[in-house]
Subunit: 243 residues, 6 copies
């Protein structure tokens, strides 16, 4: 088997996050795997609202078009923007870090909680839990009140706030594991787990492994039905996806 080549697509334009998530993916995948971590040229430096998200989703589709020769794609924003579109644009497997984090959580815990950034994202996350069929297994979606831009290991205060939120949902809601709802929190997952005492699921690490797993199993995105290649639609002012 040749080496596994993962394209990690950071939907926001913050190069620090792109790099940090690339490091997490590389460290988690077995030796010899290659990770190309990229972000769009234009768009938000972090994704906090639906308006940011629609810009990012279109950027993800564009990135897949620009990076065709990879074995799998990881969309590295917890809201999974553009994942469905990306699946139409390639036969390789496409994984979103949000769905990956949920899959990890339900495999190692019966009830989990999500720690997120701002209160405004709670309904979005609840709807994602519903869509993935795991709302009944999530005991709390706990916002920190700290925006995405301030997440990451270079910010000690954020880690402490995540730990506090984690302890709260364990004690108050019976959370048995945590899901970190932000790619920017990926590099603090192990530190939080060690402090809170329950497993902490980060979608970047587990999502990279899920992409690798599908590849090892020879499983590719179905081209029959909803994820089939885009229809041959004429586009105005830009190239179409299939013309």
């Amino acid at each position: 088997m040749t080496a596994f080549r993962l394209a990690l697509l950071n939907p926001n334009t913050d190069a620090r996050h792109t790099e940090a998530m690339g490091v997490v993916a590389r460290e988690t995948l077995p030796e010899g795997c290659e990770v190309t971590a990229v972000s769009p040229e234009r768009g938000p430096t972090s994704i906090e609202s639906e308006a940011d998200s629609v810009v990012a989703a279109a950027a993800v589709a564009e990135l897949v078009r620009q990076l065709p020769a990879h074995d799998a794609y990881l969309v590295a924003c917890f809201g999974d923007p553009g994942v469905g579109a990306a699946r139409e644009l390639t036969e390789a497997p496409v994984v979103g870090i949000g769905e990956a984090a949920f899959q990890a959580a339900v495999t190692i815990a019966r009830r989990f909680a999500v720690v997120t950034t701002l209160p405004r994202s709670v309904p979005e996350i609840e709807d994602a839990l519903e869509r993935h069929g795991v709302r009944g297994r999530c005991v709390a979606v706990e916002p920190l009140g700290i925006p995405v831009a301030d997440q990451g290991s270079h910010n000690a205060d954020t880690t402490a706030a995540i730990v506090d939120a984690g302890r709260r949902v364990v004690a108050r809601d019976g959370a048995e594991a945590l899901v970190l709802a932000c790619g920017g929190m990926a590099d603090v997952a192990r530190a939080v787990a060690s402090e809170v005492g329950v497993p902490v699921c980060d979608g970047v690490a587990f999502g990279a492994m899920t992409a690798y797993s599908l590849w090892r199993c020879g499983l590719r995105t179905s081209k029959s039905g909803a994820y089939g290649w885009p229809e041959a639609i004429a586009y105005s002012g830009m190239p179409g996806f299939r013309e």
Copy 2:
């Protein structure tokens, strides 16, 4: 009260559809209302796949930014692309024609069916039904096998196919009303209803009226929580939504 000004946003770039839907909205709204029907400068001429849809959603957000002085917005594509983002970008009510069509259907019938264009859109529509809490009231999502680009009153064959599909779901599945899953079908709704013998819900007409109704009631999009103004995020290569 001053006159009601509706911005009808066609997420695709097909001017014929934009114009036809503008006519439907104008004819349905009470006299004196104003309808500005627009479409994006760039993007797909019709929306058949998720890849088309993410481009369109970003365009809808952009259109709202460019058209600030309206009393309400109608997003005129059945998949409701960008509706959530649009709600963040204005205090005026924002209505999607997909959700509007479902609301009409459940008010006049206990069980309905959706007639759509291509088979690949069936899962997307089922998921939308689920999201809006009406999947249990829909007895069938019936694809015509005819793409969006060929819908509309200028195409007699399409109307006949819609009528056939409508009769099928009434006889076979007990559909009591039909929902037409394409803005491009708006101008044939009454003809289909007359042929099939059950009410036919078109989201352009009813959605325009829902927008008007919210305005008459003084109901505006909540700026508290999920639909609050976008966060002040730095953008690269393009203006942010709030800087």
Copy 3:
């Protein structure tokens, strides 16, 4: 088009409520619309329990029979008693203020809360939310502990209690909009909205507009299936619905 004639059916026998709701409907509908607001001759002066509700539902069916020549019907009690029966008894659209209020709320907010009268009605309202597919979007059903009979603008204390409840669900539960679960609260909706700072959905105003919207779109109650004319059943001691 001739003028729109709405029959507003107050299922309880409190003439003050009938009149107040008639005023709300008239003020919300566009100029030239006619509203006939009626209530039954016998039955409860307010509807607090299921026992009151079954009497009221039968009265609603009777009122539709007595008022045939209208373009639409609005059943003006939050529990929507008799709405299904009314739909069988006419081809005109029939709207319940409960379902209308929910439809308004989900169009302008992602999460809402319901403010109701007595704690005993909480399960009934939760079940209605479930039936309409919006239970997951409602963050709280908050009872005032004040009966229906004491609601309305002539009662300053009730308005203050509604405002308090509204502020509570916004702060504690993240409610982005309120639904007032009582026709008798219709005339205080705007005052509450102004005090609490989030949109307040009242089903009388929005329901009247929904009825009008359906009429404008030429959408009538489906006579195929569940809402078909009643079967020709023999009745004892009273006239049947179709003999």
Copy 4:
């Protein structure tokens, strides 16, 4: 222990059905139990539509008021009209034959089907299945196309049609048991079971036993919360339920 006194309330006015269901209840209950089988003075001779049902529900509430001294009540129409109201009006247990039939079915089979009278009742039954949390366990709701008025052991043709429908849902849908969706079918349940070869659940027999079971266990309707005594509401033109 004194003898168990069951009030069987037939919501329609067909004395033949009242008597036949009384016989079924008496034959199923252990020796020494007393069954008072009654029907309202006014209302439909059978219940096929929602309009019939709202009249019947009000009649059920009235019947409970007139028959206070019983140990339990059985509402003997498959749609369970007025069951909630009846529960408010007594401390004795109240059982509906619809809910009882579903409870029997899920205890003896993993998947069941419902055989009903007219196609128009299918949505009503599906909604009841949903409300009782068993929609996922029902593989089919199969209408006979024969109205309630023609059901019963005095009608050989109906029994044959029920048997045919039963065989159909067993072979086609994998039904493991049948539920008969009509009190008027109670006296043919055993004949159908013997012909089709799967258990047939009739809510009259099992509902009478459920009422008896609750009584034996000392379980009475909760007077705390939703089923508490009706509020003291003034009534116009008729006595209120609690004044």
Copy 5:
């Protein structure tokens, strides 16, 4: 009719619990019924975790094989271990005390709460509520923090703790009835009901009556489909269920 013979299968090996539950069943069933209360020779003395539960489920299947000549079976552990397997192994009705308690609760109350032993069992009970379609009707699953082994009337402190928990869920969550989530609590149900003032549903008493009710109705476990006799599978090291 001959006398009803119930086999009460206690899945744990605590003879005190077996005997106490046998007494509850005998006292609840009508005179003349026979109750054989048994427990396995090997396995846990109480069932607190899933590991205990899988041992107990296998033991239940074995007990049914050893006790063929009974009219019905009652599996007397709240988690209903082995109930599905037991249904495959007999034509007689099989009732689990968990499902029976839920059926009683929803018949006499619109909202109920469950009082359980240890916090770790909360997810298991929530999942059972979901599986039985009644999660939306349960307002709380309240753990006592006291293990199964210490439940029962011989332990005054436990009764007081159950009463406290019951008062808490009534006042805080609006519970209208209680379900005791442990066979070992069966003999204190009436004492708790009297102290808390709402009905208390114990699955041993009501489950015994449900088994009796099915038998009176001639309803037996369906042998068509999921509960059919086990397939003829070869077993290693032990006798198979059908060889």
Copy 6:
């Protein structure tokens, strides 16, 4: 990092299946991983009914106790018997091949179908889909009518039947991918995929990779809450899980 040691637990006693699944796991995992494939000493040679399943679940718990020094466990029967119990008995991750197959399917397809052995297992699989929150994404559960014992690559006829069933659900139901509901089908997955033309998800291969992925991420089964170590319960006639 040391080599990954997976314990593959075949819940049935068929050594041919154990060996075949061990080969699949070894071939899918990266080089250097160790797979110990075992089966119980006593129990069914294949698992077709719930009675077989409860015996197998208890055996799985016993196997985990006997094989403590592994990095992860894979329970290799599609019904996932004993997975919850196994999670209580180790800190290592435990994966069931049923849940793993569903996770793979929803990542590469929007709608999938399950191909199973006997019709009697359809309800069991539907309930598992429900439990894992993916019932709405499964368009069909298609039985072959061929028992587990006859599955596997040594049986050409079975492969042809799986291919036929696969083609049927793709054409008739719009299945975009297949899930093979039997560990014994693992070694024909690629052949079926090649014939049917859609991805085929086998839980043995993907489940082994999921176990490996969790291990790479440092994610272990949560010991807080439902999957905590078993309580210290006294056992009769056999050793307890924690004494």
